[in-house]
């Protein structure tokens, strides 16, 4: 007799999204820096910002309300509409 079990997973079909093409240069690009609110993430991002500005990029800073939860949808939308590139900083 055939034996069956029921699939315990969420049975999701994963949408596949290709990463955006890598830009040849940063000059003139809008780069978002997302601080996830871990201690000293800002120290790391301050230094990244210096380097990006030196390369001619425009930097915008964002911050999650708390590191422990996903970024709110409004923040994600804001970043997507205001930036060409995003760097997310995990630090402790």
């Amino acid at each position: 007799m055939n034996r069956y079990v029921l699939d315990p997973t969420g049975e999701r079909t994963l949408p596949e999204r290709a990463p955006s093409p890598r830009p040849a240069a940063l000059a003139g690009r809008r780069v978002g820096l997302l601080d996830i609110s871990k201690p000293r993430g800002d120290v790391f991002l301050d230094r990244v910002e210096e380097r990006l500005v030196a390369d001619g990029a425009t930097v915008r800073r964002y911050r999650k309300p708390t590191f422990s939860k996903p970024a709110p949808v409004d923040l994600r939308h804001e970043i997507a509409t205001q930036c060409d590139l995003i760097i997310e900083a995990l630090a402790d």
């Binding site: 034996r3 079990v5 029921l6 590191f67 422990s68």
Partner: protein, 477 residues
């Protein structure tokens, strides 16, 4: 499969094997001559003799019309059952047939026999055949040479221990534990943000080894965990060693056999262990939260397999769930993002003042003696410690207030660098006094065996909006 309809008039379901059915068989010949009568026979198609019976060979009629006893006599009007009696009850049969002389030579009453449709050897198969279409989960076929336990491991569906294979029969039986529909959405489970149905929770409950009566507790615990307040996403993802700790409250804990006594946190009690395990299997399999992936715990703790216990029903210190808003006497769960329990030993204190000093000293060390306010804790008072408070007339409020009073920390002792230890609170707190726990951050409950002057502490995780809030929810089936 749709339920087969019944003809209007009288309907009798019998089996030859049953002595009571054989007793009433002669009556059916007379009744068939006087009014519309349909007879269904479960076993012998020629029974009852002299009656044109329908053979309910696949037991579809018996199953769908929930026949548990034979003979069952039904009256059907307009396609709907309006009256039923089981076994032989002369008064009932006379009323339903309108025949005041029916069975004059029979005894007034004879109990019936079990219907073949509820025969333990057949029930699971019938349930799968007739109710399997209620299920929506993908059916996964196992190869003939595949060991079913190993098959669960191979597909990545276990928590490291063997699980019970979730066959359709077992899942359908589990669903008997709830009145909710299988396709009802219970919660949205992080980290993959997947809606979990009652059916998928039942699958996990089977795998965890639950009995059906535990299912409402699993469903409710999941609802409590999958809230923004509890934040199971963060609890899962953190490097800290926390997982969902489930404190079960109310008389239902006793009804389903939970343990609030000897070895309450430990091995040996099926309900405690399987409820806690089932919710974690949902997080793993439905939510996609697996160790080494989204779960980044540095050490984790064994309670992440399952950490669920019942609080004492008759504690002098009252109930954690009631304190947190549950109706007294109601069944409820409180979910807390907690690490493993640790023991507080105090075998000498006989006054509440002395004992509370011990408990406060131990609570002071949760996660780090110099880190305050940001972590909650559950204090589980053991019965022998509880007695010290109860005999002195201390109630719950006095114990909690007394602990907070003794857990005020001078800033100078806990700032970074104090005591030669770099870890601690920021220097700006040096001139303040800070509480070890925020208001409401010390959760008091009672459990444990009757011998042993011990209590237990379960340290928490980042609290409040930043991390996780404990959530209490009344159990709904």
């Amino acid at each position: 499969m749709n339920a087969p309809g019944l003809p209007d008039g009288l309907v009798v379901i019998v089996k030859e094997e049953c002595a009571t059915c054989r007793l009433v068989a002669p009556l059916l010949i007379d009744l068939a001559g006087s009014q519309p009568l349909a007879v269904y026979t479960q076993d012998d198609p020629t029974f009852p003799p002299g009656v044109d019976a329908v053979h309910d060979a696949d037991l579809a009629v018996s199953w769908h019309h929930r026949v548990e006893t034979v003979p069952t006599l039904l009256r059907v009007e307009g396609g709907r059952e309006v009256e039923r009696t089981v076994g032989w009850r002369r008064d009932h049969w006379r009323r339903m047939t309108g025949d005041d002389d029916l069975g004059a030579d029979l005894p007034p009453m004879r109990p019936g026999c079990g219907s073949l449709s509820v025969d333990p050897d057949r029930e699971d198969e019938l349930r799968r055949r007739f109710e399997g279409s209620r299920l929506r989960s993908r059916r996964v076929e196992l190869a003939a040479a595949e060991d079913e336990i190993e098959a669960m491991f191979d597909r990545g569906w276990t928590d490291g221990l063997p699980v019970v294979p979730p066959t359709e029969e077992r899942v359908l039986r589990m669903l008997d534990g709830t009145t909710r529909a299988p396709d009802e959405v219970v919660a949205t489970v992080p980290p993959d943000i997947v809606e979990v149905t009652v059916e998928k929770v039942a699958v996990a409950a089977v795998m965890a080894g639950c009995l059906p009566e535990c299912l409402p507790w699993v469903l409710t615990a999941l609802e409590a965990m999958c809230t923004d307040e509890f934040n199971i996403h963060g609890v899962l993802a953190t490097t800290m060693p926390v997982g969902p700790v489930i404190v079960a409250s109310g008389p239902g804990t006793r009804a389903i056999g939970m343990n609030s006594g000897v070895n309450a946190f430990g091995q040996g009690n099926r309900a405690n262990l399987t409820i806690g395990r089932a919710v974690q299997l949902v997080v793993r399999n439905v939510g996609g939260g697996r160790p080494g992936e989204i779960d980044r715990a540095t050490h984790g703790n064994p309670g992440k397999l399952s950490f669920c216990f019942a609080e004492s029903l008759d504690s002098a210190l009252g109930s954690l769930a009631v304190e947190r808003g549950a109706t007294p006497g109601a069944d409820a769960v409180t979910v807390f993002a907690g690490e493993g329990p640790r023991c507080v030993v105090d075998q000498l204190s006989r006054t509440p003042e002395s004992l509370i000093g011990s408990l406060a000293a131990a609570l002071r060390t949760v996660h780090h003696p110099k880190l305050v306010v940001v972590f909650d804790a559950v204090l589980v008072v053991g019965p022998e410690h509880e007695r010290v408070f109860a005999e002195a007339g201390w109630d719950r409020r006095r114990v909690v207030d007394g602990l907070h009073e003794r857990l005020q920390c001078p800033g100078a002792e806990i700032v970074r660098g104090a005591g030669g230890i770099d870890e601690g609170m920021p220097a700006s707190f040096a001139d303040q006094t800070l509480p070890k726990f925020r208001p409401g951050g010390l959760l008091l409950t009672a459990a444990g065996g009757g011998a042993g002057l011990f209590s237990a502490i379960i340290g928490g995780w980042a609290n409040g909006q930043t991390g996780s809030e404990p959530v209490t929810k009344e159990v709904s089936g």
